[in-house]
């Protein structure tokens, strides 16, 4: 394997939002995350755990409350807007609901052309249209649809258009935020295949955000599991799925409904209780209120990520339970 080059790094990232009564939403709390060039790193966890906030903070769409983001070693957090612009281009976002992000009054040509025009990448209109055709071809949208409007497309096709727009500027990194969660399974596979093809073709790096562990199994090289604003476990995909070390990772994997009736009633343990509020996260390990292995130490002392059996795990008892 090639030596891994770090593309983007978040260090001690914190992002809080104001909440009622001078309280704070602790959306992202002291997260260290490294993304290597060319890989797909998945960020998984239940809704509200801070995945989108972390993804957006990493690419500069949301400023962190504290902490730093390094792009190939350059600290982006202190940059003035002008100095940030060249980095902005390198990092794009694909949304779950492309419909909300595509202007309904613009044709597909204009939607995909917009970033090209903004950055003055094509000398004239004809060249822009030519480039848009190439991009649409790359994502499998027939060129006769060039002058259609977003509502004339299916959900899968709209996601393809969102992808064409995201790759228009030759970015290095794309944050894919639940890109297939709103699609039917058959269309989902088409989009996942497309994302893999584009990655190979253009050497893209993905931060792939999803709550669907099956999809992540297919897409990711590495997986970071998040719970209530903190990372619990990071590891290579195959290893994480076969030997999860954090209790929360295990419960997540066990909860996936398997498409095999023979695995019914196998007495798998279900995670009890609801997700605590990020406004008043539990002290110590944030998972301790749902964790069957919690001890006094877990209730008072927050576990840090530490290397264990090739993963990184934030659990006092990982390895012994």
């Amino acid at each position: 394997m090639m030596a891994k080059e770090i593309l983007l790094e978040g260090r001690h990232l914190v992002r809080e939002f104001p909440a009622k009564g001078r309280k704070k939403v602790h959306a992202v709390s002291d997260v260290d995350l490294t993304i290597y060039a060319g890989e797909t790193l998945a960020l998984v966890g239940e809704s509200g755990c801070g995945k989108s906030t972390l993804g957006r903070t990493l690419i500069g769409l949301i400023p962190p409350t504290s902490g730093t983001v390094l792009f190939e070693g350059t600290d982006l957090t202190g940059l003035r807007p002008g100095a940030f612009a060249p980095y902005r281009r390198q990092m794009q976002l694909i949304f779950q609901d492309p419909y909300a992000s595509l202007d309904p009054r613009m044709t597909v040509r204009d939607i995909v052309a917009e970033p090209l025009v903004t950055y003055g990448l094509c000398p004239d209109k004809a060249a822009t249209t030519r480039r848009v055709r190439e991009l649409l071809d790359a994502v499998g949208i027939p060129e006769e649809f060039l002058y259609r409007y977003p509502h004339q497309f299916s959900g899968g096709q709209r996601q393809r258009i969102g992808i064409a727009r995201a790759i228009a500027l030759h970015p290095r990194l794309i944050v894919c935020d639940e890109p297939v969660s709103a699609l039917d399974v058959s269309v989902q596979s088409q989009i996942l295949n497309l994302l893999k093809d584009l990655q190979e073709r253009f050497g893209l790096t993905y931060l792939f955000i999803s709550h669907d562990l099956s999809v992540v199994r297919f897409m990711a090289d590495r997986v970071a599991v998040m719970f209530l604003g903190k990372l619990c476990e990071v590891g290579d995909t195959a290893s994480l799925y076969t030997r999860p070390l954090h209790p929360y990772t295990r419960f997540l994997l066990d909860a996936i409904p398997r498409a095999d009736p023979r695995l019914r009633d196998t007495g798998r343990a279900l995670l009890q209780g609801e997700i605590p509020s990020p406004i008043d996260p539990p002290a110590g390990c944030r998972f301790h209120t749902r964790c069957p292995y919690a001890t006094d130490r877990c209730r008072t002392e927050a576990p840090a990520l530490r290397p264990l059996a090739g993963h990184e795990v934030a659990c006092h008892r990982a390895g012994e339970v």
């Binding site: 239940e46 058959s186 419960f251 997540l252 996936i256 498409a259 009890q272």
Partner: protein, 323 residues
């Protein structure tokens, strides 16, 4: 008591629109034996919710039942007026949806809503009704039910709201529960809790369940019998083991292949090409023919009928069984 809780025969329902009749449900027959969990699976738009709404008598203009029969415990439901259906809904059959917020009143505490629903159907005192509501909330796993009794829907998490909906549906001990994508909006650990709850309630009370889902995992974990639907029609049906072991319809195969396996990762995922047909312009032959890798000339020209491959296993395909 009939041995079949629900007997749907040759049901047709659709929408009368300016552009023509949309056959959302076309000649669907489906049986739910007492105490069974029966699943309908298929992609969005194939008519799953339309079946549910036809049974519940909740079709809205321009939607209408245009043919066939729906019998709940032997009693014909089609043709009943809304007034005649009212006492049956809630008492004998109840429905839960993907998004509980749409069927809960946002300005009334959830406990009070449940109490009113109960008082509508049962001749008991208010205090007895309240006690019953609290008992039911606790039964479906709502912690601190006395406190939650006074909570407004928006104060509850998605998982708790779905539990409240289930408690509300269960409160009159219906014979049939229709669950339309009940866990699609929930996180996977909460989904597992809710599915187990529905199954336990069905086992405890002998209640029959019609479970609608686009997720084959959910279907596999829950259902005794499964119906696969495509473009308004049943294309395959069988008991769950047979369906998952020996599916025969190319569409079912496509769905099964699209499920990501956790133990092996192919370079590419098999995908069903193309898109679902427009119901206003269905192909002359098999509705799946334009997307089907096995389609032959006959499939373009003629519509296949459901045929029984082995006892209880039905498939709508000329080329079934071919690799």
């Amino acid at each position: 008591m009939d041995e079949m809780t629900l007997k749907i025969e040759h049901l047709c329902s659709g929408f009368f629109t300016e552009r023509g009749y949309v056959p959302a449900v076309d000649d669907v027959s489906l049986l739910i034996p007492r105490g069974h969990v029966v699943g309908i699976v298929g992609e969005s738009g194939c008519g799953k919710s339309m079946i549910a709404r036809s049974v519940m008598g909740l079709l809205k203009y321009p939607g209408r039942i245009t043919g066939g029969s729906i019998r709940l415990d032997g009693r014909e439901l089609t043709g009943l007026t809304d007034r005649e259906l009212q006492p049956i809904r809630g008492r004998e059959m109840a429905m839960i949806f993907q998004e509980p917020m749409t069927s809960l009143n946002p300005v009334i505490p959830v406990g009070k809503q449940m109490r009113e629903a109960l008082l509508l159907h049962e001749d008991i005192s208010r205090s007895a009704a309240k006690a019953e509501v609290i008992r039911m909330l606790s039964h479906v796993g709502v912690s601190e039910p006395e406190k939650r009794y006074n909570a407004y829907p928006h104060e509850l998490s998605g998982g708790l709201r779905q539990r409240v909906m289930i408690a509300m549906a269960m409160i009159c001990k219906p014979k049939l529960l229709i669950a339309d994508e009940p866990t699609t909006a929930l996180d996977v650990t909460i989904e597992a809790q809710i599915l187990r709850l529905i199954r336990d309630l069905s086992r405890e009370t002998g209640m029959s369940v019609l479970l609608i889902s686009h997720n084959l995992g959910v279907i596999a974990q829950m259902c005794d019998t499964v119906y696969v639907m495509y473009a308004g029609k049943i294309v395959e049906q069988a008991d769950a083991l047979t369906l998952f072991d020996s599916y025969a319809h190319p569409y079912t195969r496509g769905l099964m292949d699209s499920v990501v396996r956790l133990d092996a990762t192919p370079r590419r995922l098999p995908a069903i090409g193309g898109v679902v047909p427009n119901l206003l312009r269905l192909p002359a032959g098999c509705a799946f023919a334009p997307r089907c890798p096995h389609a032959v000339e006959r499939c373009q020209a003629e519509r296949p009928a459901l045929e029984e491959l082995s006892p209880g296993h039905w498939c709508r395909c000329f080329e079934r069984g071919r690799e």
